[in-house]
Each structure stands twice: as C-alpha cells, then as structure tokens.
Point group: C2
Chain length 335, copies 2
C-alpha cells in the first residue's frame, strides 16, 4: 500500500479545493481505513468551501459520503471486515439521545478529514454493509442526504400511512431522498421547484403534482386541488413558510432542515395554535435514523437519483454545478 494518496484539500475557506498528494492516514485501534471508490457532494461541502460554516480547519479534506472497501482495521476491530464493501454513517459522536446530537457531534469532512480522497479513516461503529441492490455509485449517494431525509420524514415528521406530503425544492439530494422514501408510505406527494423540468422529472419518480414556488399563488392552487398536506419536508425556509403554514392540514408537521432561502418570516400565531400545527427543526440524523434508513432502502429496493459523475480532479467543477442549483439528484465523485 502506498504511503501517500490523492486528496481534495481546502487550503483555506473561500479558496478552491486543491487536489494533491497527502499522507495516507493510519486507523486508530477502534477505526477502519477505507479505500474510497466513490464519494458524493453535499451542500455542506460547498458551504464549507465558501467559508460559510463555523470552525473550518484549513487543510481539511472535505467530503462526508463514500462507498468503499475496508483496507485495514485498528487493533480492536474485527479483521473479517477487511476487503468488504462498505458505506459509512458520516455522523460522528451523535451521542446517547436520539432527540438531539451531543455537543461533540460532527460530520466526516470537517474538522475530521473526509471522503474526497483515496483513503479515509472512520470509527468502526460508523461502518455498514451497503444495500445489495445498489451500485457503488448509488451507495455513495446515500449516507448524509439519506439520513437527513429519513429523520425529517419519519422520526420528526412522523409520516403516517396514506398521508399527504409536500417536498419543497425538488432536485436537491435530501429532497429526492425524501421523495423516494415517501413513495413507500405517503398518499399523494406534492413537490415544488423553480424549474418545470425538475418538476416533470419528479412526476416520473412518483410525485403526484408539482408547483413552481415562483408562482405567487401556488399554495392556493394546491389547497384548491388537494385540500392540504400533512407533512412538509423543507430545506429552504424563507418567504414560502407562511404559505406552507396556510396549506398544512390540522395537526400538520412542517419539518425544516435547511435555509437556502433564508430565515423564517413572521407567522400567524392563531393559525399555529388553532390548528395545533408543528414546526420542527431537524438536521442530519442519529445512528438509529441511519440504521432504519438503510433497512427501508433494503426492504423497498429504493434507488437514489444520480445527477452526474465527476472525477476527483474535477471537484471544483462539481461544487460549481451544485452551487448553481442545476443538479437533479446526487453529484458523485469517482475517486
């Protein structure tokens, strides 16, 4: 095994990534060294690259997701893992409470070195067998977006059989993972986007209807046709939130996991309490969320939506593609 590896390093926040040779890391006693086959890009990576996250470590190797092969294990880890294909739960040190992460929680890819490299070390407890029906590229797409979507829809949103679901900003990784998983339980699935093309693709994947959220009255037309929705999974926040409050059915749940469109604007208190609404924050997921997510994908043979493939050398182009919100599905990096 080589002593050095190629990796996409962030020299400092705001600068492009630099692909260069760095030392191959050594697994600690409870860790595994994974040879990365494919990684996938998350919005988080782009925001860290731009310097929009707290606590960025200059020189860090970015990347949270991967599919790979166990190359080497620490002294306390079962050596029968060696040579096996694996995926990795990128959430480190979630802690004992499913409700919320511990203060030491962090995600593979900052400040811990991540998956945009030929090798990565991870705690053995974060390593799982990938779903058998997925290709390596597909497995690499799943971890962070999948666990975020699972937690939002099932653990936080408590989606019930046959309930109406709204997924905003379809095209993003989490939104499409939510769509895939919602098809296993929801009644009708409604999506929004600023792109008619993305809506049409979502209809092919199982959505019943899509609305351009750039239309002022999209929420009124939704109510007129569908009555309302029970669960909303939203990564945008911003000016559409009051409209979402208007279309929530009584006892409805609005789960917010992101803020690509800004803060939550002023809301009607009476609508909230009279209809016993729930506005629920959610981010990433616990080990239980990750394991239940894998079970669901195995049980229903779900497949993630892949947008396109880049090489490690093209990583800055991949970031730009995501930053321009052109993707429909996960952006994969072939290592």
């Amino acid at each position: 095994m080589a002593q050095t590896m190629r990796a996409a390093v962030l020299p400092e926040p705001g600068k492009p990534l630099v692909v260069k040779e760095v030392p191959v890391p050594e697994p600690a006693p409870t860790q595994m060294l994974i040879k990365v086959l494919y990684a996938s890009v998350n919005h988080r990576d782009v925001w860290i690259q731009k310097g929009l996250y707290p606590g960025i470590r200059p020189g860090v190797i970015l990347g949270s997701d991967c599919a790979g092969i166990v190359e080497k294990v620490g002294s306390e880890v079962d050596s029968s893992w060696i040579g096996k294909k694996v995926i990795v739960n990128p959430g480190l040190e979630w802690g004992p409470h499913r409700e919320v992460q511990s203060s030491s929680f962090h995600i593979l890819g900052n400040p811990t070195d991540g998956t945009f490299a030929e090798y990565v070390v991870v705690p053995a407890e974060n390593v799982y067998q990938p779903p058998m029906h997925l290709s390596d590229e597909e497995s690499a797409a799943l971890p962070l977006a999948g666990v975020t979507a699972y937690r939002a829809l099932f653990y936080r949103g408590k989606i019930g059989n046959g309930e109406m679901v709204l997924i905003t900003g379809i095209g993003g990784g989490v939104a499409l993972m939510t769509l895939k998983m919602a098809t296993t339980i929801a009644g009708n699935i409604i999506v929004t986007s600023s792109s008619r093309e993305k809506i049409n693709k979502a209809l092919e994947l199982g959505a019943s209807e899509g609305y351009l959220y750039t239309d002022d009255d999209w929420h009124k037309r939704l109510v007129k046709k569908w009555g309302g929705v029970d669960v909303v999974v939203d990564g945008a926040s911003g000016p559409n939130i009051p409209k979402i409050i208007d279309i929530l059915n009584p006892a409805g749940r609005l789960v917010i996991y992101g803020q690509t469109a800004g803060e939550i604007p002023q809301l009607s208190t009476a609508k909230l309490f009279w209809r016993h609404l729930n506005i629920l924050g959610s981010t990433m997921g616990s080990p239980s969320d990750f394991e239940e997510m894998l079970e669901l994908w195995n049980e229903h043979k779900l497949k993630p939506v892949i947008d396109r493939l880049y090489s490690l050398e093209e990583i800055n182009e991949a970031f730009e593609w995501m930053d321009n919100a052109k993707q429909f599905g996960k952006i994969i990096i072939k290592i």
Copy 2:
C-alpha cells in the same frame, strides 16, 4: 322550578353584557340541566364581548366554566346524576382525534349558551365529578384553563421528569394552572411577567425564579443562571419569541396557546434545525386531556389560584378587571 332565570347576555359584539331574565333551557335527551353555583371568566369571554372572535351570535349567554348541581336530565341520561355536584368540560364535539379538534368543535358560551346564568344545558358526556378536595369556587376555576394548560404542558410539551419549564405571563389563568401542574413533575420552574408583584406571588407557589419580560436581557440572565429550558408554555407570542428560541435547550419544545402580544416574528432557521427545536401550537383540549387533567388534580390535591369573586350583576366589572390584566389567578362569578 322557575320558568325564567337570570343570565348575562351579549346583546351584540362590542356592547356590555346585560343581566336579564331569560327562559330556563330544557335539556335534550342526551343533555343535563345544571344549576350553576359558580362560573369563571376566561380571556375568550372578554374577546367575544369585544367582538374579536368570529361567529358571535347576538343574544348569546357567555361563559365556559362552571361548578353546579344537576337539576334535571334528558330522557337518555342516567337520572342518578340528579342532585350531584358536577363540573363541565366546556369543549363540545372535539371529535375522534386527540391531535386536533373536528371542524364542528366549539366551546360552551358561544354560539351555544354558556355558564353566566342560573342554569345551563350541556351534553351528559361533558359532565364530570369535581375533585373532592376543591370548593365549588375552585372547581369552577378549573375547566377551560385547566384543560388548556394540561394539553400544552403534557400532551403537546411532553414535559419529562425533572425538566426545566418556563411559563410566560404568570398571573393569567392558564399560566397559573400550568405552574400548579408543573410542580408535580418539573425540575425548576421559571416564570415571566411585567409585574414584580406577580413574580413574587409565583415564587410562593413553587416557581424557582421570575424575570420581568420588559427587561431587554431577561433571557440572557436566564441562560447565565439556569443554562436553558426544556419546555415553554406561552400564551403571548409576539416579540419575546426569538428570545425564547434562544433559551430553549436542544430538543426543546415551545408550546404556544395564545397571542396576547401578537404574531410570531422572524426566527432563525439555523437555530431551529441545528437544535432540533419544536414550535407547537395548542388550543384548549380533547376529552382525554380533560380527564387526565382531572386525574392529576385529584392525585396531587392541586388547588387553583383564585383572584377574586364577583356577582353575576358585576360581570362587566369582572371583564374589565381581566381586560386590564390585573388579575393573578381565576376570576370567579358567584351566580
């Protein structure tokens, strides 16, 4: 039994109540006729009197709460109830789902005639034996404020043993009911008010600390001393909500049941999702909430806080007292 009774009638929205003789109502087959001993005033009554509620019926007898004696029962009701002391769950036709009321749900006192009268008819299923340790005045204080507080703190807020609770606007009926019930389960209870005198009274009732919400930095001092709170029960909404978001512990629950201070202003999306916070609307309560509330008051021999007593003839003065937010506890009407 007389053919007419004295009752406080709302001639039209915005006008003072008029106490006058009206016919005694007749119970339908599934109803009971209750001779009212004491009633209590809720904010709702004042808002209806002012015309601030939708669907006000001119000529309605206001009042949601009472303690009384069963005078007469409908043909399908067990006649052994006659002569018994009772209290009434004022929520009519909640419906089958505990999560949220049905569209036909309404509260005794509009449009159905209420308890500010010598007699009131109510569905037999809404009638309960009052807690044995309570006086008639105390029993009359309990129903609407008690069920609202119970649902907010237990069913919606899911208060856990030893958790930190914040109750805003202490002095109001629901806030004080929440305080009483929180003493049975919470760790420390923090209250806010615009009145130092009300805070001091709350400390005597079991609160650990109180803050004047009129101080700009009350929330910062709370965090410095107590770390944060797990459950907030709030009937104010308005400009203090962002401060409450700041002091919520991870996975904390903010339950809002009213809006005496206005709408929910702009909120930080990142604080919501990163800490998995919950903003939960709640109003009044289901039959299960009412029954569990009664059990709790019986088990712990809790007593409601009574502010003062008015006669039926003084009902407009009682409304004015509440409207000026001078009360600390429930305002009782002796019929």
